[in-house]
């Protein structure tokens, strides 16, 4: 228990990922929804770093690095989209995105 192994990190990562999932499912505000997706990516990063550490291999860190880059890019595009939407509709409520269905 006190010896922190890889599994601890993995479990932590998974828990955080699950929290992210809950957020993704639960959030109706797009901005807050994007927060949840950040949680997803971050949770994975912990795991990558941990594996990298325990295997003594740098690839995991590399992956985490790129994940961070991706997360940053996503934010830019995502916010851009939100801005456009907000300009037109004055809200970023997810439920307002329902003109197409069936």
């Amino acid at each position: 228990m006190m010896e922190i192994g890889l599994n601890h990190y993995l479990i932590l990562s998974t828990i955080l990922f699950a929290i992210g999932l809950v957020g993704v499912m639960r959030r109706k505000n797009l901005l807050l929804l994007f927060f949840a997706t950040e949680i997803l990516l971050n949770s994975v990063n912990i795991a990558f770093a941990a594996i990298s550490h325990y295997y003594g291999d740098l690839t995991g860190q590399m992956f985490a690095f790129f994940v961070i880059a991706i997360a940053a890019s996503e934010v830019a595009v995502g916010l851009g989209l939100l801005i456009v939407w907000y300009k037109r509709h004055g809200n970023i409520d997810l439920d307002s995105l329902a003109s197409m269905k069936g």
Binding site: L21, M25, L94, D95, G102
Partner: protein, 640 residues
């Protein structure tokens, strides 16, 4: 000789096609004349062929061309003129010549004059094919061809509902029998490898009795239809809706006897299976009395004669079934003459009475229609079988044959029927020609038929009288081919007693008929007399309720079943299940497309759900793999 064969065969066809050219035009008398001439030429050719055969000439056999040939099957258009077919050809061409000429007068005022001759000649052609073919398939062509012409001619007055109904009935009933015949043909082919008479007859000798019996039975089923034997007899009476010359030619003299011809032609088969023959004979005897009984009370002149025909066909089958093929054929010939005469006479009466058919509405016509009276009386006498007319010789021989073969039941039935025959024949004559002139009540002014019609009928009259004289010649001719034998009653005394007894019985019947119907008290029945209300009378008048039963238990259920099959089975089950499958697919799509609510949150949930679903599967599988040993242990512990 072959050219005469071809003339005899194709002259009617030419005649038919020629008349057909004018079907769309108004009446042209010359079509009738030319048709009659062509048929007459066929008659002449047949006569020449007859002389050839009578003179001991070889049977003529020609093979015109191949019809169907595939696999081992080979069917040519082959024709044979031998003793049997030449007899039939004579009967057919003679009667049809007479009927053609007669029809020129009879159909005088009909719009469909030209059409009529076309049909009539087509019928003759079909009949010629039927009797001249050298194989069963060719016979079947003629068989169906006469059926077609019969349909056309019964329904000739197609504006009449009853006529067209009767035409269809006749056709369909015949089809039922034709199926039997087809099956017979199939049996012959697969057991003998050929449908030629020669080849199959040769092979019959080597087949086992069961097979032969089946062949015999199925062929006879075919014959039953064409010859209107019970239970397929109802169409014949209804067929009287057609013009009377048609009834004379088709439904008395020729087509209906095709069944007899078939049995006679297949004598080599039937002589191998006497038990089937006995059945045929018994059925024939039954039909003889059965039909005669219906003739007793019927109030339709033509129907009475039709029942009489039926009854006489029963005689023929009785003879053929008992192996007396030549007798059957002889009776067929004789019957053709006097029955055609009887019908044509009836036609005259109808013409005179403006298509009135109820003899009770006639009476005393002998004054205006003397020649018709004479002809019909002679014909009736011949029918009744009085010496020395044709009917005596042929019918009496049948009785003798039955007696000689020790089939006493058949004999008695036939004997009794002879009495009935005499009774109804003279009931009819008496009602029509004797007694009060009841037609006056209905304002009808009867007149005798055209002269040439009467002249045309005269050969029949003569033959009805003298045909009996040909008995010996005929016997000599067909002896070889039909394996014919004279029937000898063991003692002359018995023979004499029988003959005279029969004659007396018949004469008594005639006298009773005259007594009963030749008096002034006869009125048009109105359904009030005690006799008319008796059970028997009603039974007979309604033809034993057989047509009624057919209608109620076959026709109506068939129609209803068809409706049900269509509206319920086809539309509601078969089609609906096809549409149902499509509908299920469509509706599933329709309902589940709600999954696509367009809401992003739902979409995300679906993604997560998909992930979790697969994860659960993976975990279950992973655990199962990891603990597979334990699971196996548990399962084996449970005894699985």
């Amino acid at each position: 000789m072959e050219k005469y064969l071809y003339i005899a065969l194709f002259a009617p066809l030419v005649s038919s096609l020629f008349s057909a050219l004018f079907t769309a035009t108004p009446k042209k008398t010359f079509t009738g004349i030319i048709a009659s001439l062509l048929i007459f030429s066929a008659f002449v050719s047949s006569s020449i062929l007859l002389t050839h055969i009578l003179g001991g000439g070889e049977p003529i056999h020609v093979e015109m061309m191949t019809w169907m040939a595939t696999g081992d099957l080979y069917i040519p258009f082959g024709f044979v003129v031998d003793e049997i077919s030449v007899t039939m050809m004579m009967v057919v061409t003679l009667v049809s010549t007479v009927v053609h000429i007669y029809s020129i007068g009879y159909m005088d005022h009909d719009k469909g004059f030209n059409r009529f001759f076309s049909y009539l000649s087509a019928f003759v052609f079909s009949m010629m094919i039927l009797v001249m073919s050298d194989n069963y398939a060719g016979l079947f062509i003629g068989w169906e061809g006469v059926g077609l012409c019969s349909w056309l001619l019964i329904g000739f007055w197609f504006h009449k509902e009853s006529a067209t109904w009767a035409a269809n009935e006749a056709f369909i009933m015949n089809r039922i029998a034709d199926l039997g015949m087809l099956v017979g043909l199939f049996l012959i082919y697969w057991n003998t490898g050929t449908l030629q008479y020669e080849g199959s007859f040769a092979a019959f000798a080597h087949l086992d009795t069961t097979t032969l019996s089946w062949i015999g039975i199925f062929l006879f089923i075919g014959a039953m239809g064409k010859s209107a034997q019970f239970p397929l007899h109802t169409w014949l009476a209804d067929a009287m809706e057609g013009p009377t010359p048609v009834s004379a030619l088709i439904h008395a003299a020729t087509m209906v006897t095709a069944g007899v011809y078939l049995v006679v032609r297949s004598n080599e088969l039937y002589s191998l299976i006497p038990h089937v023959g006995l059945f045929i004979a018994s059925l024939g005897a039954f039909v003889a009395i059965f039909a005669a009984s219906m003739a007793l009370v019927n109030r339709d002149m033509k129907r009475v004669i039709a029942y009489s025909t039926l009854s006489q066909l029963g005689y023929m089958f009785a003879a053929a079934g008992l192996g007396a093929y030549w007798v059957a054929l002889f009776h067929l010939m004789a019957h053709a003459f006097f029955k055609a005469l009887l019908f044509l006479g009836a036609g005259n009466v109808m013409h005179a009475m403006h298509d009135e058919l109820d003899p009770f509405k006639m009476g005393g016509l002998k004054k205006v229609m003397k020649w018709t009276y004479i002809m019909m009386t002679f014909a009736s006498v011949a029918l009744a079988g009085l010496f020395p007319l044709a009917g005596f010789f042929s019918k009496d021989t049948i009785l003798e044959a039955a007696f000689a073969e020790h089939h006493f039941v058949i004999y008695s039935v036939l004997l009794f029927t002879a009495g009935l025959t005499a009774f109804y024949s003279f009931r009819l004559t008496a009602l029509i020609f004797e007694g009060e002139e009841r037609y006056k009540l209905f304002g009808i002014h009867p007149h005798e038929a055209y002269k040439y019609m009467l002249v045309a009928m005269s050969p029949l009259l003569i033959l009805a009288i003298i045909a009996g004289a040909f008995r010996t010649t005929f016997f000599g001719m067909v002896e070889e081919i039909l394996g014919a034998m004279e029937y000898h009653i063991h003692s002359h005394v018995t023979l004499w007693i029988m003959t005279i007894g029969t004659q007396v019985f018949v004469i008594l019947a005639i006298m009773y008929a005259y007594k009963k119907y030749n008096n002034a008290k006869i009125t048009v029945p109105d359904g009030t007399s005690a006799m008319e209300n008796s059970f028997m009378y009603k039974l007979l008048l309604n033809q034993y309720y057989i047509p009624y039963a057919y209608e109620k238990y076959i026709v109506v259920p068939y129609r209803e079943m068809s409706e049900v099959f269509w509206t319920h089975v086809d539309l509601k089950i078969v089609d609906a299940s096809v549409d149902g499958i499509a509908g299920i697919i469509y509706n599933t799509g329709d309902r589940t497309s709600a999954m696509q609510s367009g809401n992003l949150s739902t979409m995300l949930k679906w993604m997560v759900a998909g992930l979790l679903g697969m994860l659960s599967l993976a975990v279950v599988f992973g655990l199962a793999v990891r603990y597979s040993d334990e699971i196996l242990a548990i399962l084996s512990g449970l005894g699985v």
